[in-house]
Symmetry: D3
Subunit: 140 residues, 6 copies
């Protein structure tokens, strides 16, 4: 069958809601405010994060799948959404104890949460929308 073994990317889109503020420990409030503006306001704000997880590899000859997107969705729920959804990223999430929860850093954290659970023969790529007009991609 002609498509077998061809390299394809499969993408699953998920979402989660979280609160955060941009804030660098060790900086004064003035430094934080001048660098991060409204995003640094002390009582947090939040986002509907839209998350795309892309897995790239060869089509499996048996199933016609690179990876079952239902399984990928379950892995994202278990290892990413369970950790981040409806949370305060600064206060509730271990990975951001000393890391500013910018979209860039959140994308790297999500990648690292998920990477151990995806077969090593498959490539992993993260796209994260913080708003409909601001988003990031990792690795780039």
């Amino acid at each position: 069958m002609k498509s077998m073994g061809k390299k394809v990317a499969v993408i699953r889109r998920e979402h989660f809601n979280a609160a955060h503020r941009l804030y660098k420990k060790g900086w004064t409030d003035e430094q934080n405010a001048s660098t991060f503006g409204k995003c640094s306001l002390p009582n947090y704000h939040g986002h509907n994060y839209e998350l795309e997880v892309k897995v790239t590899g060869a089509i499996d000859e048996e199933t016609g799948f690179v990876m079952d997107l239902k399984l990928l969705s379950d892995l994202v729920s278990m290892h990413v959404l369970e950790e981040l959804d409806h949370k305060n990223l600064n206060m509730d999430v271990e990975a951001f104890r000393d890391l500013n929860p910018t979209a860039e850093n959140i994308a790297v954290v999500i990648h690292d949460l998920l990477r151990p659970h995806i077969e090593s023969s498959l490539d992993l790529f993260i796209r994260l929308y913080e708003t409909p007009r601001n988003y990031v991609e990792y690795p780039a």
Copy 2:
């Protein structure tokens, strides 16, 4: 000119980001958790709220406008976004001091913030998306 005086609705879409939690004062934590689930987690979560403001009235013979959408956008910025954007609704916004910031209640609050600034001959309607899949409309 044939369209003059015809009744038309004009709609402006804006957005803001905010943190909140659903929480009824006077209820125990268990009551809040059983009613509001993850939305009641203590450290807040957040949303990209998409807000549609609809104003209905007759087309003005001079301008061809029901209302200048640039002006409507400015009024929303000044009276609504200034109050809610990048805020913690529970902690920072007077209107939610004793009011649970459900999407329903936020829509009513936005309506009441904006109503005094729209000409009384024009009708006002609010549509508020809390997530791409959950939204509310007021008045209904």
Copy 3:
């Protein structure tokens, strides 16, 4: 609290996938083809139906909800998606045994499946997207 008792609409968006063909029993194949075109091809085609369910009523003083959207989502899953998702509407769904599964008819069927499970004091409205460019609303 000022928003209590105000009438608000709450909307939940869900989706399902199904196959169908437009076909009137008792008509010849030629009649069906000339009326329904490609939509009448014998081996079925399908759609990602996007479904919006709107419930309208007064804000509850205790919760600030018209209706918990999580509960509404569960009711739609149980009474609508369970019946229609990943099905062949013509072959698998009792309601379409003698009813052409046009978008109009599907919207009425969904309304009637859900109506008994929504409190009678609340109004129910269905919006159904058959494609991003074709959709229907009931009641109108």
Copy 4:
């Protein structure tokens, strides 16, 4: 068949591209600039207009349609898009010879172009997006 005769709305979404400027004949350039801002710049700008045409009526017992959306799409192409698509509204379209092509006025013009071609027993409603954040509805 239970859905027969029920009143349903069917909506078809189309789009067209056009140039325009907001400009009131008889006003000075200064008056136009102060009222319409950048929208009044002399060499025109343009939009991807997204047009929704809603037709409301009873479900036909034979077809299960309120109105065939393929037919509605053809009528919009013939009577609206043929007139407006890839045109300069101010210079090329008779209806705007003495009418400022605001979104409000364009919606009324589209309604009046289409109304004679829709059965009189059916209601007609126009929603017109000038940008993703600015749109109008007629009748309201």
Copy 5:
């Protein structure tokens, strides 16, 4: 002229509707059900497939086009949509006689249907949305 000869990608988005089921010939019904879940139900389900076709090459000095998107749209209609739109992929489409119509395989089939009709100096890339939340890309 400074942009001439620069390499640019042009993308055209199309859509089609089709029915399918995921099913591997030679497997038992139990094997198919356990691997493909609801997607394997015997009477088919369907999707609104959104298809993006990307063609990459140098800007032509005469036209300013990499490739006329109107022509690309016509080629997609003729060689892809004609074959897949409003069809049952398993029953009606030769390419899936022995190939499971997963999104991955459909993307490869679309690529191979179109490749002979695109100039060999141009690269071809396919993105296929099976649902708004599940999509694939080929080649990856």
Copy 6:
């Protein structure tokens, strides 16, 4: 901190409205019409251009940003939107004096307007939607 120095892309989405026509100087009207069709009509048409600007580089250790998206947005406003928004591309924009304003050419022009204002260590990529179904990417 584990994400520091990792390479990430950050994307900002903006939009502008403009009029244009496709037209090659030195060609006859017939040549222009036969190559560019309705897009060559003499009185211009227009679009809501959606513009995505992608900047790729290492995460800054201090801020957690690749680049502040607020700053990127300001640079796009100042150097791109100021030049193109609400303009007639053919008549008002120096870059298109001798260059056909195809989407391909507009993307290259936008890239060249912005490139001098982005740090040289960062990569720059442009995605430009002329309509929701037609878009281009540069460099490809």
